[in-house]
Every structure is written in C-alpha cells, then in structure tokens.
C-alpha cells in the first residue's frame, strides 16, 4: 500500500468515527514501510485528537513526500491548547505522539494558540529514498 492510499483511508475512518470532515492534501507518494506506518499511527492520534476535542468543523491533513523525508501536518482551527500544559487528554496524546516519533528518529512540532487552533507537524527521514 502507498502512503497516499493509507492517509485517505485514515481520513475516512476518522470522519466515520467522529463525524468531522477530514480534508486530505497529498504531495508526492511512496510505498509504506515500518517508519511510515509508525508515523501514520501518530498522525491518526493527532487527527482523532483534533476531531474529538478541538470543536473545529473540519480537520486538514497534509502529507508531503520528498526525496529525503516524509512529513505530515494535522491542522484545525478549533479551540487550541497549551502545548506546555501537563493536564488533560491533550498532553497524554502529545506524549504518545512524541513517543512513536522518537522511536523512528522522527520529529514532532506542535503549534497551538488558545482560541485559534492547532497544528501538529510530524516528519521522518526516508531510509530508502533516492539521493
């Protein structure tokens, strides 16, 4: 399966489970490997998190495959949260997203402003990308 197909599938599943539309934009595509499956799992948590808690009418999911890395952005214009706060479900999810990405040598960046929404950026270097 390719990343593009898997991301579409993820989006449809989250839409069905949580009743919030997930808009997917994909630039480039590649076959899935173990690292990308882990990143997808992290991306799913971020997407579910947005759909469940942000209150935004839509969640945007963007993936880009470059020669040396693959990145994924999950964005909503919902309630936002304080990435530094320790309480609540949000932090738990942020931690588990970080855990998954750390194990594959990936990176997580969380941007969020209360009242404006949030964006979670995941990226992982490609092991077998062409040079």
């Amino acid at each position: 399966m390719t990343l593009g197909v898997a991301v579409e599938q993820l989006a449809r599943e989250v839409e069905t489970d949580h009743g919030v539309p997930v808009d997917v934009v994909a630039v480039g595509d590649c076959l899935l490997d173990g690292d990308l499956r882990a990143m997808l799992a992290a991306g799913r948590e971020a997407t579910v998190n947005s759909a469940k808690w942000s209150g935004a009418p839509v969640v945007s999911l963007f993936t880009e495959v470059e020669r040396k890395r693959v990145s994924m952005f999950v964005r909503d214009r919902g309630s936002g949260f304080d990435p530094g706060a320790v309480s609540a479900d949000r932090q738990g999810i942020a931690t588990s997203i970080r855990g998954r990405m750390d194990r594959i040598g990936g990176k997580v960046t969380i941007r969020s402003t209360l009242g404006e929404g949030s964006e979670i950026e995941l990226s992982v270097p490609r092991r077998n990308g062409r040079t």
């Binding site: 390719t2 808009d23 630039v27 480039g28 839509v58 880009e64 964005r75 062409r130």
Partner: protein, 218 residues
C-alpha cells in the same frame, strides 16, 4: 468589475447544488443567472455578462472546460471560479489551463465561498488547499533530472517563495494566516498566488498534463 456586489452566474447540472450555493452566497452577491448544461451556459453567460461564473468542473458535453473556452473567445473579461467535488487532478488542471482563476472544492464553507468569489471578482486567484497541493506536486515531479531543452525558468518552475506560500495553503492556512507566518503582506501572498496561476496556465511543459494522469510515486 462594476461597483456594488459582484454579479455571479452559476453553472452546475445538479439543481440541489445550485440551490445550496444560492443560499450560501445569500445577499452578498447578485445572482444574475443559472444554467444546468454547457450549451445553455455559454449562451446565457454571453447575454448577461456576469463578473464571475461559478462553474462545475464535471458536466456532460465537455464540462466546465468547454464553457470557459467558448465564453473566453467572445468575452475574455468574464472570470471563472471552478467548484467541484472532483478530486481528479486532470480535470482540475484542465479547467485552470482553460482559464479559470481558481478552484475550490464543494466542501468549502459559505463565508469562504463568498470570500473566494469576491477575490476572483477583484482579479485575484483563488487556490484551495487541494489545488495548491496539485500544483506543488505537478511542478516538483516535472524535472527529475534538471532542466531540459525548451525549459523556460520564468514559466516552468516555481520560485522558493512561491513554493513556501503554496505549501502553507496546502496545509490549510488562509491567505491571511500565510501572510502572518511568512511575515509578508496579504497583497504579497496574492501576488505570489497569481504568479503561480499564470505559470500553471502558460507553461508549455507537457509534463503538467502527464503528471495529472499519473501521479508520481518516488
């Protein structure tokens, strides 16, 4: 464009959809006509000369592309905004290359649609996240081994700034949010997007068409 709200014409072969769009647009624009098929659309648009045509990409008899091509011959001043449920890149690229000033998906919210119509009426280009993604993809895949014969850098590649702008739009940022993120003005974002639209329409690269039919796997 004349003073007052933009004069808008709707073309879509689904009645329910036109009804929906009409109610979303409300009083912020003046709806001057509707058509549910290509031939009627060409005739009525020529008569009523709207500022902006909201155009479905997919219709029998040539779709939105056929409407744009026929109207542009006699009335190049009429502006088109493509609106579609279609995610098929070849259709979207074809309608843009025929002359549409932008493309938005039918899931767009009412206020965003109004904003897009006003933007097009003012002469700007409107890129939905999906269109921005298509364009990034198309231009990135076109030159795997560097410039070739007949390559025109003015038209056949995106500048780094244009890529940054498109990437943010593809991530779901509005023009305003994109401007803030890059510390530039909204006007500058608009001018980058217009310049990308021009490249998309004028680039003679056959790869654009080829890309649209076979998305790349790298």
């Amino acid at each position: 464009m004349t003073a007052g709200p933009p004069r808008v014409f709707l073309v879509d072969d689904h009645d329910l959809f036109r009804t929906g769009v009409r109610s979303e647009l409300g009083d912020t624009v003046e709806i001057v006509g509707e058509a549910d098929e290509v031939r009627a659309a060409i005739e009525l648009i020529g008569e009523r000369l709207p500022d902006v045509v909201l155009l479905d990409v997919h219709m029998p008899d040539g779709g939105g592309q056929a409407v744009i091509e026929a109207v542009k011959r006699d009335h190049p001043e009429v502006l088109f905004l493509a609106l579609s449920v279609s995610d098929a890149p070849e259709d979207v690229i074809a309608v843009i290359r025929a002359g549409a000033r932008g493309y938005v998906t039918k899931t767009i919210s009412g206020p965003e649609l109004v904003d897009a119509v006003i933007r097009v009426a003012a002469g700007d280009a409107v890129f939905s996240p999906r269109l921005a993604g298509f364009v990034l993809d198309a231009f990135a895949s076109a030159l795997p081994d560097g410039p070739r014969a007949g390559f025109d850098p003015e038209l056949d590649q995106l500048s780094p700034r244009e890529q940054e702008v498109l990437r943010l739009i593809a991530r779901g940022y509005t023009y305003k949010e994109t401007a803030r993120e890059l510390s530039i003005s909204v006007k500058t974002v608009e001018s980058h997007v217009s310049s990308v639209l021009r490249k998309l329409q004028l680039s003679t690269r056959h790869q654009l068409t080829r890309w649209a039919t076979e998305r790349r796997l790298i």
